[in-house]
């Protein structure tokens, strides 16, 4: 019986024994070493607990987890879940509420926005492990060449800046608009909208806010200002363009920085400018991303799992990860710790992070992006008028978010 697992873990952690299987979805080559190091430390600290570390490819990990979770056989004890997956997992009953367990120790230290992605129907189902958000990344050198001092703060300014750059530095692209709907979110937030309205329980792809957001992004992808790409290579192409200095601005997250710095235009890392995403009439902000640590509700070793989560997300552990991987920690206190504070990526993204918007905690909402992307591509590719595309997407989304009408 595990009903007292929380108490046991809290009161007598050293007596807890068991095996914790952890599915880590981080980048196996670049990020996982830090986590493996933490696992080693955890096992040292709790000799009776074994950790089975499994690196699961991020792509498809949610399916793998859901399939295993529903059968009661083969699911891990602890799962590193994307912030978009967490509410879905929770709604399906796969996750153990962590309220009142050691896993939530020091919960008030977490940044509120990432933390919010763990809440579902009043309970907390995970703790944020790392976070990120979209920001405006720009090439300082090109800005200087075009005589632009400040990164733009609104989409209108983006347009002006981009035009100027394209004119002043022939052959460059002002801004690369990624035709992926996740990258549309800053535009949407700028219009004060979102893909769902949790208040009225409605999917709002066809809302006026979405419409003007899409129109804005489409405008920015026009010749003379910027470009877009609707192929499957869109992300890579955006990044490549930016890395080589052909593209002056793009929206991207902290995960891209290490890659960008290998680019020819960023031999001097200082050339990379990071700013909060530009805003629209209703404000500024990018979507919050990142990953949470969650505990499988069917875990036979809940106590050990709580302790594991607690350990992995302790300020020291987060600091280590942030330092090693240049990812953004989720505990406020960690930002001030040595090695984190002076990490360039962390500090560059701290400001955008502050204005990041939480994603709606409705199960299924996280997948509306995938659903909408094809329509967004059609619109950006000029095959479908904006309002038609939105209407079709809205229709398609019927039933995608349980309890929400479309």
């Amino acid at each position: 019986d595990q009903s007292d697992a929380a108490a046991k873990a809290a009161n007598d952690p050293q007596s807890v024994s068991g095996t914790v299987t952890w599915w880590d979805t981080s980048d196996a080559t670049n990020e996982s070493p830090a986590f493996k190091e933490l696992v080693k430390r955890f096992e040292k600290k709790y000799p009776k607990i074994d950790v089975e570390y499994v690196n699961v490819p991020f792509d498809g990990a949610d399916d793998k987890f859901k399939t295993a979770a529903q059968s009661g056989d083969g699911a891990p004890d602890v799962m590193r879940a994307d912030v978009g997956w967490t509410p879905t997992f929770a709604a399906l009953g796969y996750l153990q509420p962590l309220d009142g367990t050691p896993a939530l120790d020091g919960a008030d230290d977490y940044l509120p926005t990432p933390m919010k992605t763990n809440e579902y129907q009043g309970k907390t189902y995970g703790v944020p492990e790392v976070t990120d958000t979209l920001s405006l990344l720009y090439n300082k050198e090109l800005f200087a060449e075009a005589g632009v001092q400040e990164p733009p703060k609104t989409w209108d300014e983006v347009e002006t800046v981009a035009k100027k750059i394209e004119r002043k530095v022939p052959g460059t692209t002002g801004i690369f608009v990624n035709a992926d709907s996740y990258f549309l979110l800053p535009f949407v937030y700028g219009e004060g909208g979102d893909v769902v309205d949790t208040g009225s329980k409605r999917i709002t792809i066809d809302s006026p806010a979405m419409k003007s957001a899409v129109e804005t992004s489409k405008e920015l992808s026009a010749g003379g200002i910027g470009t877009t790409d609707t192929s499957a290579n869109k992300y890579t192409n955006m990044l490549d363009g930016f890395k080589s200095g052909d593209v002056a601005m793009m929206l991207n997250g902290p995960w891209s920085v290490s890659d960008i710095l290998t680019g020819s235009a960023y031999a001097d890392p200082d050339n990379l400018g990071v700013a909060t995403v530009p805003g629209g009439p209703e404000g500024r902000g990018g979507p919050v991303g990142g990953h949470n640590l969650t505990v499988y509700a069917g875990s036979p070793d809940l106590a050990a799992s709580y302790l594991f989560v607690k350990f992995m997300n302790s300020p020291e552990s987060q600091a280590l990860v942030a330092k090693e991987n240049s990812t953004l920690p989720t505990r406020e206190s960690v930002y001030d710790m040595p090695g984190v504070k002076d990490n360039q990526v962390v500090s560059q993204f701290q400001e955008p992070m502050e204005s990041a918007k939480p994603r709606p905690s409705a199960p299924g909402a996280g997948d509306l992006y995938d659903l909408f992307t094809p329509f967004y591509e059609q619109i950006m590719g000029g095959q479908t008028p904006v309002s038609d595309g939105l209407k079709q997407a809205q229709r398609k989304a019927k039933g995608a978010v349980p309890g929400f009408e479309s």
Partner: protein, 275 residues
């Protein structure tokens, strides 16, 4: 018999060279990429950057590539042996015997191929879990067999159909049981067909992703495609590792083909019967 004219021969070779180039080019491109040690040049066809084998040393030295490779080998070989064996015996029965249930069986093979795997995977997972086959070689081999066997059975039936029945009959008169006939006469005579199905089963199991990714849960049991998928994270692909791994992945497949293609020989049944 007139020898082929010079012109026809040249045409033949030109066609084959052209086809070979198309077949090889993308592979060669991947291989070239695997040798590029310069990240910036991976997506720049015109730039070579510096070439080297560091990607390979990294794949082999710093990842669990060899473990995955071993797993894939076990699973692919297991699938090939088990799949071809049971498919061949079913194909033989279907080709040579009349029995109630034959048509439904052949249809079932078809129908199993018609259903999108996505629909089947959750119930299949539950069946595997009930049988205690999750995260085991045996389970994955069985699952892969469900892909390989229907095709192999159909194909082998087709190949067996081309072997004169009177050769079986001679064997039965000489004292062979139906199984003996199958083993000692049909299998040797159907070598071209069996080679094809062996290769098919091997390659299919070798590159299969959907089942392997769901059924194999511990990293030590990953097959190559799954292991290599960890090189690709959400927003960043380790092209160097991926391509180097790919080249390494192709080698055993090519080796298997090299081994079995010798059996793609003509005229095995010539001289046996007059008709």
């Amino acid at each position: 018999m007139s020898t082929r004219s010079r012109k026809a021969s040249a045409g033949l070779h030109i066609t084959l060279v052209f086809a070979s180039v198309i077949a090889v080019f993308p592979v060669a491109w991947v291989a070239l990429t695997s040798l590029k040690t310069d990240r910036a040049t991976w997506t720049r066809p015109e730039k070579l950057g510096t070439l080297g084998v560091s990607n390979y040393t990294q794949v082999l030295g710093e990842t669990r590539f060899l473990t995955w490779f071993g797993n894939s080998l076990v699973v692919a070989a297991g699938t090939t042996v088990l799949g071809v064996l049971i498919a061949a015996s079913a194909g033989y029965a279907a080709s040579r015997m009349r029995f109630p249930g034959k048509r439904p069986l052949m249809w079932t093979f078809l129908v199993t191929q018609m259903f999108p795997a996505a629909v089947l995977i959750v119930p299949l997972y539950n069946v595997m879990s009930d049988l205690g086959l999750l995260d085991s070689y045996g389970g994955l081999i069985l699952a892969q067999c469900t892909i390989a066997v229907p095709y192999c059975a159909w194909m082998l039936k087709g190949y067996f159909d081309t072997i004169p029945v009177s050769i079986d009959e001679a064997g039965r008169i000489d004292g062979l049981s139906p199984l003996g006939t199958f083993w000692r006469l049909i299998v040797p005579l159907a070598r071209p067909g069996i080679s094809v199905t062996v290769f098919y089963s091997f390659i299919t199991a070798w590159g299969e992703v959907a089942f392997a990714s769901v059924f194999m849960q511990s990293e030590g049991h990953y097959t190559l495609p799954i292991g290599m998928a960890t090189f690709v994270s959400d927003f960043k692909a380790e092209w160097g590792l991926l391509t180097a791994g790919s080249v390494l992945v192709m080698l055993p497949a090519a080796a298997v083909f090299f081994l079995v293609q010798r059996h793609l020989v003509a005229g095995l049944t010539a001289g046996g019967v007059k008709s």
